[in-house]
């Protein structure tokens, strides 16, 4: 069994910088972290390998070079191989371009299953996994919260999906992409002390457009089919609020307000 994990590095949202002229997020100098749902997906893959040790796990990430230390740490946490896709040409790519780049990169890597997170912390469009699935012509399910035990039998994987009104069980033919939900209990393992400074460079490969061969018009801002025209911070109309403190007067104000608005105590 070969599991590919797609991992996105997301900017620490508290420390963002925008290029307002080009209307893109400058990721190069923002501090990065592994998208939490993607980390969950990697944790599930590692747990699967504990049960069947012949499982091979490879991480693929499209990110600026600043991601290298995080990706090296994934190797120290037990990932066999990491491929970083990076090229200055790719900066500013929308989900359409990103999906095309990732799908082309994946085509040269063998896999039975692709694990990733359903949503990313920054864009949050949840489009890329489904778009890659379409480009590769394979099934995709999102919001996976658990794999059945045993998860994989006879070229199908049994999964549980949490949706708005119900919990659904599916069997999915391999190869397939599964998008996991964030679950606090699914955590990446710690890096063991003796691993901390291990040289892992032989397990990390870095590929750019010289390998993938896109034309400059197909990628980055030029290749994108959606374009951000404007970014606004103050989004909603402002109300003139009544300001009170937590004291008798404040509580009475809230109490009378509720009464006035017809909220009935039970």
């Amino acid at each position: 069994m070969r599991i590919l994990c797609l991992v996105k590095m997301v900017p620490d949202v508290d420390n963002l910088r925008y290029d307002r002229e080009r209307n893109i997020l400058v990721r190069d100098d923002a501090s990065l972290l592994i998208n939490p749902e993607d980390a969950c997906a990697v944790a599930v893959a590692l747990a699967l390998r504990q049960d069947s040790p012949d499982t091979e796990i490879e991480v693929v990430s499209m990110a600026p070079r600043g991601a290298i230390p995080h990706l090296e740490d994934l190797i120290r946490r037990g990932i066999g191989r990491v491929t970083l896709i990076t090229d200055p040409l790719f900066s500013g790519s929308d989900t359409w371009v990103t999906s095309n780049i990732l799908a082309r990169s994946i085509q040269s890597i063998p896999y039975d299953l692709i694990f990733t997170g359903t949503n990313s912390l920054d864009g949050g469009t949840a489009q890329v996994p489904a778009q890659i699935a379409e480009l590769l012509g394979i099934p995709y399910l999102s919001n996976v919260n658990a794999l059945k035990n045993p998860a994989i039998t006879d070229r199908t994987v049994m999964v549980e999906v949490e949706e708005e009104q119900s919990v659904l069980q599916f069997s999915v033919y391999l190869p397939a992409i599964l998008g996991f939900q964030y679950t606090p209990k699914r955590k990446l393992p710690y890096i063991r002390f003796e691993e901390l400074n291990r040289d892992v460079s032989s397990q990390l490969s870095i590929i750019g457009n010289e390998v993938l061969g896109f034309s400059a018009n197909e990628v980055g801002l030029k290749g994108s089919l959606t374009q951000v025209k404007r970014l606004d911070t103050d989004i909603l109309y402002q109300k003139q609020a009544i300001r009170v403190s937590v004291d008798d007067q404040g509580i009475e104000t809230v109490y009378q307000f509720l009464k006035q608005k017809g909220v009935h105590p039970c």
Binding site: E163, K239, K259
Partner: protein
Amino acid sequence: MLKQVLVYIDEDAVQDSIDLVEAARLMFGDRDLITYALAPAGQYAGAETVFDYIITSEPAPVAHYEAGKIARLIEHLHHQYRFDAILIPSTTFGRIIAPRAAIRLRTGLVADVTEVRTEGDEILLVRPAFSGRLLATVVCRGSGPIMMSVRPRTFVKTGATVKQAKLIFCDTRNLPDSGIRLTGRTERHQEQDIRESEVLVAGGGGAMKDFPLLERLASLLGGKVAASRKAVDHGKASREIQVGQSGKMVGPKVYIALGISGSSQHMAGLKRAKHIISVNIDPHAPICSMSDIVVQGDYKVFAEALIKRIEAQRTQTNGGLSWK
């Protein structure tokens, strides 16, 4: 010029899907609009009087989880009808169908649109981004139809024109298999749905010490408990009661926000809330600018005092149910 719009009807959110017609009206106006509802699962109750056409899959219905198949169906229909826009509800499976269809049509897709505007000939789509810190105004480039996904209850149908939809049947049996089989389904208890509640008592990152306290206040007010993403991610509340861009869009009469700073990803879920009371240590938290009442202080002290006030009134009126 006539505008043709396709709306996908998710069988688990039929009315919410129908409501997307409103976004089409905002883009193109009412007069020259021809609307198509795509209901491949065969469930479209209520759409007959709203759409001009209803497209179903006969004789074999296609369920929403067969997203790959539905994406191909949308592609096929687009080649036949040349839609100006394709709108898909941001349900669990709508969020898979939309990107898959966008790839097949080679068109840009804007996710979770919260606002639609026109500027001259250009159609601007607004969506929250970067954990809701910002609102991005996005335009679609390329020749394909405008494609967007919209979270349920972002738009509510207002138009009163009553239509009589014509049915179009589509045979999907030749489309490739989706590779996905449903093997089991457990319904969730529905009394949890915070979208129906008139009063919500919501807790955020600053209210994680004592979540059960919110339950007490909510039940005294005849309301329900809701939560911000932070509280959900920390395991304090279930995802079903999460409010915001990645949770639910709610429209209560009163929303009492305890320890919620109000990132725009959270506020995106509150657009239809009539009144907001926010309790925060920080008087400059973003949510304060949206609130009717800003209470500066500790949520726990506040909740306990308000519970006491309500209970005191109850004893005074001999267990009665009225305010005084």
